[in-house]
């Protein structure tokens, strides 16, 4: 009994000594660094940061910065965009399930200088697969549904009401097996391959990267769906009312107002994905437009 007590006492003493030794050494170190750091010009201390980090912050980290707007009776947090005049409130809902985002990000369109902002805007509620993927060459999808942007599971049509403007918590996807058991177009193989590809990319040589990229994009089509394929008065690629759009909203999306707008943009843009050089030359004057 006494031996057991002695062992317990020793163990307790060991923990006591270990705990306080760590605390005291840690605290003494912190105190020394803190106190010495209070001396001198704070600008000199800031100047110790490596310049590489400053460049990195100026390019990337700033987009993660948030700023609080204090308005007395209410306040809100919004992303800090350098030089941006209008308040934006918050970022938009990001797509959590679609593996395309892992590489291309939530603002993927950059090639077509004239249309890129519009195309990115459609990313809010249309998945990449709708315009860019076909299960087999020439077999354009005919049936569409909505998937939850977090889980990626098929869901019912969201409430498409005024004021929400594209942020429905769901995205349109092409469906297969529409008549029996409708499911979102499956890119399981590509997704698994892409996941492994990303992990092992640093160890691949250039030709392996090219081959890997080709496999991931093997179901992507060269000429994706155009704006006018949906925004026209005759035959729309997307069935608006079946997807939950009201008759009024569907009519607006193919109205002269929208169709005319789309035509104006398409006049300037020729989808020359295979001739990027030609496209850049022809459109350089429009570079700063949305």
């Amino acid at each position: 009994m006494s031996k057991k007590n002695d062992r317990t006492k020793r163990l307790f003493l060991f923990f006591y000594v270990a705990m306080w030794s760590v605390i005291l050494v840690g605290a003494a170190t912190w105190l020394t660094i803190f106190l010495v750091g209070t001396l001198g010009d704070p600008v000199e201390a800031k100047g110790l940061e490596p310049t590489d980090a400053e460049l990195f912050d100026s390019i990337l980290a700033l987009t993660d910065k948030k700023v609080v707007r204090y308005l007395g009776e209410w306040e809100f947090l919004e992303p800090k965009l350098p030089g941006h005049f209008h308040h934006i409130g918050r970022w938009y809902q990001s797509d959590k399930w679609n593996f395309c985002i892992d590489c291309h990000g939530p603002i993927p369109h950059s090639r077509s200088l004239q249309e890129r902002a519009f195309l990115n805007m459609h990313n809010l509620f249309i998945s990449c697969q709708v315009c860019h993927v076909q299960e087999s060459e020439g077999a354009a999808p005919e049936h569409f549904g909505w998937v939850d942007i977090v889980s990626g599971r098929l869901c019912s049509n969201p409430d498409i009401v005024e004021g929400v403007w594209g942020e429905y918590g769901a995205k349109i996807v092409p469906l297969k097996n529409h008549s029996e058991n409708p499911q979102p177009l499956n890119l399981k193989e590509e997704q698994e391959f892409a996941s492994e590809f990303r992990q092992r990319m640093n160890n691949l040589n250039d030709s392996q990267k090219v081959i890997g990229n080709k496999f991931i994009h093997r179901k992507c089509i060269e000429n994706p769906v155009k704006c006018s394929d949906c925004h026209n008065e005759d035959n729309q690629f997307l069935p608006y009312t079946a997807l939950g759009y009201s008759e009024e909203r569907a009519a607006f999306l193919i109205s002269a107002e929208v169709v005319d707008l789309v035509k104006r943009y398409e006049t300037f843009y020729m989808p020359n994905l295979l001739k990027p050089q030609q496209q850049t030359e022809g459109q350089s004057i429009q570079e700063e437009t949305p």
């Binding site: 005049f85 209008h86 308040h87 409130g89 437009t289």
Partner: protein, 622 residues
């Protein structure tokens, strides 16, 4: 802020809680109906924007964005709700983006904020413009070109409108017998009796009342100025000092971080008399911070009106740069050396002592065991060994409570940016309550300290009377003979302890009733409490202290207060607490502070000399 306020102002749950999982609705249909009606009723107030060109058909989509070739993220989204909550709500898109004529838009020029594009100026029925800001800016320190036309160095660093301003938002106040934030429904209800357009009434009310107080929150103002003045490369290029860091170390800066609206931000001092756009350099005789004008600024009726003119020589932007502020550097250096010079050796000895406790010498273990038996017998005989009487325990408890309150109300102020600081401060009433609690606790500590000194002197006098002693010399001798005054034996004990902790000696020192550690800790109070008390009072009663002391004395007082408080807390936390909390034999807490009785084991370890004085029985001697 309550959630329903958000709803009133058109802020949705999704905008505040992005990605949050929706729980089943808490409101039943009836309440949803009431809410819907409320929203419909409130809706007209946000329908100000004039969008004749239907720009929002595209620009209301949050995803309308791109990344350009330089990696700049360009967002073309306009949040209607937020846009309509500001003075620009009645301005059309083309009012500012005037060069956008067609779709697709041509390469758009940056917006010129000074153009005559706006709505009618209601007082003179002419087109409104910010043009006068240009004239004001030309006189200011922020103009890239001097009045004689000479460009300043690095003219690209000088601010454009958008560097300081994002689109303004209303910050209305309820001035209808109340001063809380928000639109006064009572006021609006009275206005619409005559002015039938409620939209206009709400807009006009918000516009005017926003200007009745700070149009922008002080935190936003400081952040705005920090965009340039907190940037080290900018500061170096223009030969400035880091005024943001120094400001945030003042009471003003810290109070602002806690959300106070009552203390001055950058603009209140640097543009106190004129338009903010006319801000001058401190060296300019026209500047409100020029040494000649500083007194008028600091001692103005709204600020320190009762303070002496010496307040103006208080260095608000003081730092510890040896070249720029040698006095402040010297004071800070003294406290840094004192703090580290006291704590580091003690902490080193304590860590070594802890390790030695784990690996005690056989001789020391036997000695402690022997002395413990003696102490055990005495404890059994007397029902415990009393170390502190009721009066001392009461004083200790009082000191603990006051010290904890001082720490909780003082340290959030020292580290206002720590995430826990606002929470702790809110427990004491936030920035409007915690400083008052701190001062009350400070006064209580001084009163308790004075009582303790009074008690000591009373006991000394009684002892002298008993011995028939008189005179100053006797007083000094009696005080020096008090048990808490260190003597030669304490120095010897310290050396013996160091030898034992360093494994140079197998013998632990025989401390008497009070060890050298306890004596040093006790005497530390006679340095710390008066120093913290005096400097605290100087800072608190600035209206009196600035009449008898120069302004720089407050800089010194601030430094002494902040460094000494850190020393005190570090000493208590790192030297005192480890000996009384969680220690084997006294776990979880020393009973001494409750019943005044010391455990025989601790007495044998820590006060062997005292136990030896019990060792008088023939049995023990053998």
């Amino acid at each position: 802020m309550k959630h329903h306020d958000n709803i009133d102002y058109g802020i949705t749950c999704d905008s505040k809680h992005v990605g949050a999982v929706r729980e089943p609705p808490l409101l039943n249909n009836r309440w949803l109906g009431v809410l819907a009606i409320t929203l419909v009723v409130m809706l007209p107030q946000v329908l100000y924007a004039v969008d004749a060109e239907n720009c929002l058909m595209c620009h209301r989509f949050r995803g309308l964005a791109r990344v350009d070739k330089d990696g700049d993220y360009r967002l073309f989204y306009v949040d209607e709700t937020l846009f309509n909550r500001g003075p620009h709500a009645r301005v059309t898109c083309k009012g500012c983006h005037a060069d956008i004529e067609k779709i697709p838009h041509d390469n758009a020029k940056p917006v010129d904020c000074l153009r005559s594009c706006h709505i009618e100026e209601p007082t003179r029925e002419i087109i409104f413009t910010h043009e006068k800001v240009r004239e004001a800016l030309q006189q200011s320190v922020h103009a890239p070109i001097l009045e004689d036309g000479t460009p300043r160095s690095s003219p690209e660093d000088f601010p454009q409108c958008k560097d300081c301003h994002d689109i303004p938002l209303f910050r209305p106040v309820s001035i209808f017998k109340k001063t809380r934030a928000g639109v006064s429904e009572r006021a609006v209800n009275r206005c619409i009796v005559c002015h039938s357009d409620e939209n206009f009434v709400r807009y006009f009310y918000s516009h005017v009342t926003t200007r009745l107080h700070k149009a922008r929150d002080s935190r936003e103002v400081v952040n705005m100025c920090a965009g340039c003045h907190g940037d080290p490369s900018f500061v170096r290029r223009h030969g400035l000092s880091d005024v943001i860091s120094s400001y945030l170390e003042t009471y003003h800066g810290k109070a602002i971080l806690f959300g106070s609206t009552q203390v001055p931000d950058c603009l209140d001092c640097h543009a106190s008399h004129k338009n903010v756009h006319e801000m001058r350099a401190a060296a300019d005789p026209g500047s409100s911070t020029n040494p000649k004008n500083r007194s008028a600024t600091c001692n103005s009726r709204d600020c320190h009106h009762s303070a002496g003119p010496a307040l103006a020589s208080f260095n608000v932007h003081s730092n510890r740069d040896p070249k720029a502020n040698p006095l402040e550097f010297g004071v800070a250096l003294f406290f840094v050396i004192a703090t580290l010079g006291i704590l580091l050796p003690i902490l080193t000895l304590n860590v070594l002592g802890l390790i030695r406790e784990l690996l005690p010498s056989h001789q020391a273990e036997q000695e402690i065991e022997r002395l413990k038996k003696i102490a055990d017998k005495k404890a059994a005989r007397e029902g415990g060994i009393l170390r502190f009487n009721g009066g001392l325990r009461l004083q200790h408890a009082f000191l603990v409570v006051v010290f904890v309150i001082l720490c909780l109300t003082g340290f959030p102020m020292k580290f206002p940016e720590a995430s826990i600081s606002p929470f702790i401060y809110d427990l004491f009433g936030g920035i409007n309550g915690a400083p008052i609690v701190h001062r009350i606790a400070g006064v209580a500590l001084l009163v308790g300290f004075a009582f303790h000194i009074g008690q000591i002197l009373f006991n000394v006098r009684r002892s002298m009377k008993r011995k028939g002693q008189r005179g100053i010399k006797s007083w000094i001798n009696s005080i020096l003979a008090l048990p808490m005054i260190p003597g030669k034996q304490d120095l010897k004990d310290l050396i013996d302890w160091a030898k034992y902790a360093l494994f140079l000696s197998p013998r632990r020192p025989y401390y008497g009733h009070f060890s050298w550690k306890e004596k040093l800790e006790y005497l530390g109070l006679f340095w710390g409490i008066p120093l913290l008390g005096i400097t605290g009072i100087l800072l608190w009663a600035e209206s009196i202290s600035t009449r008898i002391l120069p302004g720089w004395a407050l800089n010194v007082a601030y430094l002494a207060h902040t460094y000494e408080s850190l020393l005190a807390v570090a000493h208590i936390a790192l030297v005192h607490i480890p000996g009384v909390i969680g220690r084997p034999g006294v776990s979880p807490l020393s009973s001494m502070i409750i019943n005044g009785k010391i455990s025989p084991a601790v007495l044998a370890e820590e006060h062997a000399g005292e136990v030896k004085s019990f060792d008088i029985t023939p049995e023990a001697r053998s």
